[in-house]
């Protein structure tokens, strides 16, 4: 039947997917691994205007640089795809190695980072140098708590570490990613968002909680993501489009304009 009130037009939302994993994923549940060639067809199918993409093996294997470089090569002719590097604190402590890594990333045309929190947990003393270097350039950072897939979870220690990092680096945009692995989400996520100015969540694995976050903490704190190919974009696209609790402006922010603003802030 017809909806009683017209929902947003999908095209007008200008969807910007912040979490797409490229690369061949050898797993029976994911036979359709995304390649640079196939991802554009997927974006078109779901009316997604553009996407941040990272490389599957860069999330899983060292040296991460192999996957990060492979990513750049694979998307070099695809202006709708924007690269994200997976990075972690350099082995050598100090500001110089961290700054060198961030500058290398920016020079390669990469304006967002994915920080693998399961491999390198959010211990503030360990991330201090790299977060300082990233903050100097206002690089949006996706704090990735997922395992092989987008399923993940937060511990109390994670939340405490995140709080310290967020308060120590207030100009660094931090986006919690892959923080759901079934029913429920850590109780402290929304309290953390409300007590900091720079913590966001993306929508990978999150079907309801993102609305609560948008209503309680503001729509500018929520970033659209599909988690493809680990989850089907049709689930998330429709979820945002038909969210009756949010007005058109809030949906546009969540769908893509928040992410565009963060990327435009990189310097």
């Amino acid at each position: 039947m017809q909806a009683d009130e017209k929902a947003s037009s999908l095209k007008e939302l200008r969807l910007f997917d912040s979490c797409v994993t490229l690369g061949r994923i050898v797993h029976s549940r994911y036979p359709e691994s995304l390649t640079a060639a196939s991802i554009l067809g997927t974006l078109d199918r779901y009316c997604i205007a553009e996407a941040l993409v990272h490389e599957h093996h860069a999330r899983l294997l060292h040296p991460r640089d192999d996957g990060n470089r492979r990513l750049l090569e694979s998307i070099k002719n695809s202006p709708r795809l924007h690269p994200v590097w997976v990075i972690e604190p350099p082995g050598e402590p100090g500001t110089d190695p961290a700054r060198a890594l961030v500058e290398e990333m920016l020079e390669a045309g990469v304006s967002a980072a994915r920080l693998p929190m399961r491999a390198a947990p959010p211990l503030p003393w360990m991330w201090e140098d790299l977060c300082s270097a990233l903050e100097e350039h206002r690089v949006p950072c996706f704090l990735d708590f997922g395992g092989v897939s987008t399923w993940g979870a937060l511990t109390d220690a994670d939340v405490n570490g995140l709080r310290e990092l967020a308060l120590a680096h207030p100009e660094l945009p931090l986006i919690l990613s892959n923080i759901v692995g079934g029913l429920g989400i850590h109780y402290a996520v929304l309290p953390l968002i409300r007590r900091t100015g720079n913590v966001h969540i993306d929508t990978t694995g999150v079907l309801e909680y993102w609305r609560e976050a948008a209503q309680e903490a503001g729509p500018e704190r929520v970033i659209f993501a599909t988690g493809a190919p680990f989850t089907d974009p049709g689930i998330y696209v429709s979820n945002v489009q038909y969210a009756r609790e949010l007005d058109e402006e809030a949906k546009r922010l969540i769908s893509g304009d928040n992410l565009r603003r963060l990327l435009e802030g990189v310097r």
Partner: protein, 279 residues
């Protein structure tokens, strides 16, 4: 071009399409109540349906089917909500197979007398009671003799092969996908956080008639169940099957399809959507 997809993308919902969400919970739940009262359940569930273009939903009970809870309380709540919106809610009673068999059969009698024709099981969450354990075999026998529809969160492969063969006149629905290719009387509600293209592959292998839309509302928004169906690269005829026609057929067979939907059910059938040309 898919007219169904274009309407959905334009924000219009699903005009002229029969849409029945086949997997919705109302009532108490371990980690959150869906609604605080029957009044709220009626008011908000209607609003959710109207916003998404959904005609009706199958209420597969509430959290009273979880371990140790008195499932009759959940069924009481279900009846209360159903009586206030009989045209838009199809009740699926719940039970706990760990209860005494006499108690289970008495509850089946009570709910059948109240007009309920569909059963929701979730034995894997109830001390993992076997899907072919003696009390559930008694439930299937009851369903078979009373012409009822049976829905379960999940069955094991051997279990569904056994029971679907033993009760060929009863239709069985998996709550979250499942083993479908062996029996004509086994179907799947689609809801799960499936990977890219999972539904496409299922349709390609088994045909759209095996699948029916569901969202696991009102724990989730209804749109998350609709999205994968409307974006599937299949014909609008196939989308109509998954959005409502197949579950409507199964409900009609057991006398559970709300009467006001009968006409729309007929109008959505392929022979009415594509009438034969007059020669």
């Amino acid at each position: 071009m898919s007219a169904i997809l274009e309407s959905w993308k334009a924000g219009l919902g699903l005009p002229d399409v029969l849409v029945i969400d086949g997997h919705v919970h109302v009532g108490a739940w371990p980690h959150a109540a869906t609604f605080g009262s029957a009044d709220e359940a009626v008011r908000k569930s209607v609003a959710f349906m109207d916003a998404n273009g959904v005609d009706a939903f199958c209420a597969v009970s509430g959290g009273y089917h979880h371990e140790g809870a008195n499932y009759r309380l959940g069924n009481d709540f279900l009846l209360e909500v159903w009586r206030r919106m009989p045209d838009r809610l199809v009740p699926f009673l719940c039970l706990n197979p760990n209860d005494a068999r006499d108690e289970i059969l008495a509850e089946l009698d009570r709910m059948y007398a109240a007009g309920v024709r569909c059963i929701k099981l979730i034995n894997s969450y109830q001390e993992n009671y076997p899907g072919d354990g003696p009390n559930l075999m008694a439930v299937y026998e009851y369903a078979d003799s009373h012409r009822m529809l049976v829905f379960n969160h999940s069955w094991g492969t051997e279990e569904i092969l056994k029971i679907s063969a033993e009760f060929p006149e009863t239709n069985f629905i998996f709550g979250h996908y499942g083993v479908l290719d062996a029996r004509e009387n086994v179907y799947a509600n689609i809801w799960n956080l499936g990977p890219l293209g999972w539904l496409d592959r299922g349709i390609a292998k088994l045909g759209a008639a095996k699948f029916m839309m569901g969202s696991d509302g009102f724990l989730n928004p209804m749109s998350v169940g609709i999205g994968p169906v409307v974006f599937a690269p299949v014909s609008d005829d196939d989308k109509r099957l998954m959005l409502g026609l197949t579950i409507a057929r199964l409900l009609e067979r057991v006398g559970a399809l709300p009467a006001p939907l009968g006409e729309k059910y007929l109008a959505n059938r392929p022979d009415r959507v594509h009438p034969p040309e007059l020669s």
